[in-house]
Structures are given as structure tokens and as C-alpha cells.
Symmetry: C2
């Protein structure tokens, strides 16, 4: 189908290609970001044993859809996703962008059906973690339980951040916050804080930030004029991180 390491073609490859080696938490270079954080070797092997399925998801394909029965939590091993919810009338809201080391599917726990769609924005690879077996295991491994709770809580806190952004920030602040957030997450994964490729369209960024695509485009252009960033299509170079931070700090009114 698709060439194994195609997904990583436009991201600075600091690690060896993942597709050739046997996938397992214990030799996964994301283990410090992902679910197994803090586990002993033995515990990690027990977690490993849960993860029977690792699957590629091609760009544009859904990992899961609204209404689908909930069974797995998914750990992104490589790639990039968005989650969105659709209103009956066709409008849709992107609720998040997820990258390697992050979990998908937590929304499905409460009703045992997924409540949003998860779509790959580039060819990706995910570990399928059977949720009910994860619960069992986390009854036995305290560290795992604690970390899982932290991940869920972190998601809640992240969501509060998005509410803040949507509820009271102006265009410039939203875009600055968005870029800084991406920068920081890329950094945590060993990539450059200042230079990366956006995986999503202007429209998807707009949907996430509560803006129209034209507004996003204009904000990028303005930031470029002001020397804060250099944009060319999806390639972004952040030239002035403090400058972006300042946009959020100064109360404009």
C-alpha cells in the first residue's frame, strides 16, 4: 500500500524509522510521553501484552466515527489526527489535533459509543488498547492507574484552555496561542520549536479556533508582515516566540 516511512517525510527525522522494528511500548521512543510513563520493565511488558493490534490509518481515513461502539483507546505511534463533531446541519467543530504519544478515544468511555470522529491528517499508526483490559490492568498497577487518570485530567484542562481561547480571545491571540501550543508539543517530541509543517488546512485551523479560513489566512499574513513568523503554505517558521507570547500577554482593551 503506502511506503512505510512516507508519513514522516516532512518532519525532521531524529529517530530511526519506526515501521521496521517490532512495535512495543518497551522499545517505543514515545514511552515517556505516552501511557507507559513511569512503569517498570515488568509492568511495561504487561501493558504491552494488552496491545494486540497496531494499525496504519491512511491520510483522510477515520480511526473511529460518531456512534461507533467504544472498545479501544488508541495511542498514536506516529502521525497526526484531528477529532471533530458534526452538527446535523453540516457545520463541524474540530475539537482537537492529536500527535504522536497522545491518546484518542477517551470521549467514548462515558456512553460506550464514540461521540466524535477521529480522522488521520497524515498517514499514521496507532496502537489499539482494549479499554476494559486496560481498566483491569490499572487495578493492578497503581502507576498505570495514576498516569491514566492524569491523562484524562490533562484532557479536561486542555479543553478548558480551548474554552478560554474561544470565549475571550481575539483572532491574533487565538492564532498565537495555537502556534505556541504546536511549537511546544513538537519540541517535547524532539523536533524544532521554530519550524514545522502544519498538517491541517486553514479551514481546520479555523474550525478549531472558532474562525473562518479567510480570517486564519489573514492573521498568518499579518504575523508575517510583522516579522513574527514566515509562512509558506503549510510550512511555518516562528521567528519571534517572545513576540507571540507578548500578543497573548498584553490586554488589548
Amino acid at each position: 500500500m503506502s511506503p512505510p516511512s512516507k508519513a514522516a517525510k516532512d518532519t525532521p527525522p531524529r529517530e530511526t524509522p519506526f515501521a521496521v522494528i517490532k512495535a512495543a511500548c518497551s522499545n517505543c521512543n514515545l514511552r515517556e510521553l505516552c501511557l507507559p510513563l513511569g512503569l517498570s520493565d515488568d509492568e511495561m511488558m504487561r501493558l504491552d501484552s494488552l496491545i494486540s493490534v497496531r494499525k496504519r490509518v491512511k491520510r483522510g481515513d477515520s480511526l473511529y466515527r460518531v456512534g461507533q461502539a467504544f472498545e479501544y483507546i488508541y495511542a498514536i505511534r506516529a502521525g497526526f489526527f484531528k477529532t471533530d463533531v458534526l452538527l446535523e446541519d453540516g457545520r463541524d467543530q474540530v475539537t482537537g489535533f492529536q500527535m504522536a504519544g497522545e491518546l484518542l478515544g477517551l470521549d467514548g468511555i462515558c456512553t460506550e459509543r464514540h461521540t466524535c470522529n477521529a480522522v488521520a491528517l497524515e498517514d499514521s499508526e496507532v496502537c489499539h488498547i482494549p479499554f476494559f483490559r486496560l481498566e483491569s490492568l490499572s487495578r493492578e498497577i497503581q502507576t498505570l492507574q495514576r498516569h491514566f487518570h492524569k491523562i484524562m485530567s490533562r484532557e479536561i484542562v486542555r479543553d478548558h484552555g480551548v474554552m478560554t481561547l474561544l470565549g475571550m480571545m481575539c483572532v491574533e491571540e487565538r492564532i498565537a496561542a495555537f502556534l505556541l501550543n504546536l511549537s511546544q508539543r513538537f519540541t517535547a517530541r524532539g523536533f524544532s520549536p521554530a519550524e514545522f509543517n502544519l498538517r491541517m488546512t486553514r479551514e481546520e485551523i479555523g474550525s478549531y479556533l472558532g474562525l473562518k479560513l479567510e480570517t486564519v489566512s489573514r492573521a498568518f499574513s499579518r504575523f508575517q508582515e510583522e516579522g513574527l513568523i514566515a509562512v509558506q503554505q503549510r510550512h511555518i517558521r516562528i521567528l519571534d516566540i517572545p513576540g507571540l507570547k507578548q500578543i497573548m500577554a498584553k490586554r488589548n482593551h
Copy 2:
């Protein structure tokens, strides 16, 4: 201090006053909404034994504040709260309104510090649940573990709903969604779906919905003119629930 049952004065009192009877999950009329859902009598007693502290929080007082060390999850036994986050510049975003049977404090798990403020909007009473002991117990009681995970997941899903609201709904839709949500939650607690008192100011509603207080006020007035609701200060009567639902259904553009 404050008279025991003052908090419930403007809510239809379908149950006996709570303050006189010994507070415990097993005789709490909220147990079907709250954490102990689905537990056996024995299990419920074990949960009970964790909850050493039940405290009143007076209207306007904080249950916890940003930065405070995280120790407890709080179950609201009676009353009404808001949670909000403040930006350095003084702006603040209300991230939620919580009522009896709901949990507060989940935001604190990830960093072991609270990341928002929880403020009582009326005299309230909360059960303090030591989180780390709750984790221990939920390693022993599968039902409890499962239900706790569902509650956290539900919070994530709720947050996605708010994002949708903030990201792509117009004023009328936001207000209609807000009223319908309150109505539905009051109903679940045995109160009238159509008539209730708002516990929060127009400004707090506005902050939650990403609107200015004047905009909220105008929307209420418009709904009243259209015969959808009757508002008098904080007293709301919903006259046309299907009408409100339709506002959200019809795509206005």
C-alpha cells in the same frame, strides 16, 4: 452561621431537608446521580468511609482556587457552583456550572494543583473525597472504577459540547442550548423542567457562553417577546421547549 436549609429556598423542595440527617452516600438522595452509582450496599459503605469531611461553602466563597494543592475530589451535596479560569489581565472565563450530584476538582489530578477556581453561587454543601484513597478503592471495586472513568469521560464530552457552542453557534443558539441544558439537569434532579431560578448573573452566563452580559440580556428579552420563555430577573419559565430546540436545529445560514 447560615440557616441550614436556606440554600434550597427558591428550588422546589421535593425531598426532605438534607442538613438534619447524617450525610452518607447510602442515605443520600443523589446517589443515583453521583459517584456511588451502581455500588452494592457493602461497597457504598466502603466509599462512605473515605468521606470524612462534609463542608458548607457559603455563597461567594471558593471551594478551591487556582494553584492550590490538589487533594480532594468534591461531590456537591447541595447547592450550585461555577468554575472559572482567570487570565493575568483580569478577564475570566467561566468553564462550567455544577449542581448537586456533580463532581468538582477533576482538573487538579494532572498536575496535583488546581487549575481553576470553584466558587459557590449559593450556600452549598460538598463531600470531600480524598482522591488518592478514592484511587485505592477503585482498584478494589471495579464498578466504582468504571463509574469514575465514565464521569471523567463525560466531562470531556461536555467540554466538547461547549467548544461546539463557542466555536460555531450564534447568540440565540447558545442561549437556547444553555437553557435546555439547565432544564434537563434540573429535571434529572426531580425539579421542574420548565421553571427554575438562575443562580448566576448575566455576566457569568455571558462569560460561560462567550458573550457580553448585554447580549445575554437582549437574547432573553427577544426570547420573551417571541413567547419562548418568561424571564423576570433570575426566574425563568420555559414556555416552549420544542421552540428552543428548533432554534438549534434550523441552520440559520
